[in-house]
Symmetry: C2
Subunit: 110 residues, 2 copies
Amino acid sequence: MGTSKLELFTKEQNEIAAIAKALSHPARIAIIQSLLKKNSCVCGDLVEETGLAQSTTSQHLKELKNAGIIQGSVDGVNVCYCIDVKTWTKYSNLFAKFFEAATHVKSQCC
Amino acid sequence: MGTSKLELFTKEQNEIAAIAKALSHPARIAIIQSLLKKNSCVCGDLVEETGLAQSTTSQHLKELKNAGIIQGSVDGVNVCYCIDVKTWTKYSNLFAKFFEAATHVKSQCC
DNA sequence: TTACTTAATCGTAATATTGCGATATGTTTT
DNA sequence: AAAACATATCGCAATATTACGATTAAGTAA
């Protein structure tokens, strides 16, 4: 136990949940917002941005990378991260679709 | 440790992360989708929908309720759940705004 | 080569999440 | 009142997440 029973749900449900999971920590939201604003894309700057330890920030970056949201490329001693626009757009559409389903709900049933 | 350092982040960042957390389990996505489709709104039916134990489903419902996404009202022996449309719309807009920020990003920086 | 810098990974501790069975609570029905 | 039903809560076990310091790896500069 302690593990989610993923096999009970549809591919889409698991996908939406997985993306939401990647977005479920404020540090990761902060990182994404920072990258979208393009104030910087260097890992060291993101460490300052989050206010967390370097190792912790690195862990969050890894999760965002695994989710396909960001990508990093080595630039000398630094690593430059950026939003993977293609994936981001895909996720954006998926969430928009998911949320929009409620526009047809006129009234509360209870 | 093990606790997120919420005080390091903005109210908005924490809010987005909190909503995402509520959406970060496929069972909860399944519940929401079911309620949006209005196939049913009775707790017992949602237990079947998820395929999880009654107590586990009840726990997921509680989390969605805590996040303000759904509301339940007692109807005799049953409890009828439904989407809180007002909150849902609010969250929908918040996420749309969050995702849209990337439409201005023309190219990858790295 | 050695020293320095940056970032990833490892090891570990604290806490949170997921899931279930058992039990409690509250509402109908008999 | 007693039995039946639906749902919430409790207690527990397994696993996941968050965070940090220490270490490793790899590039750059002296």
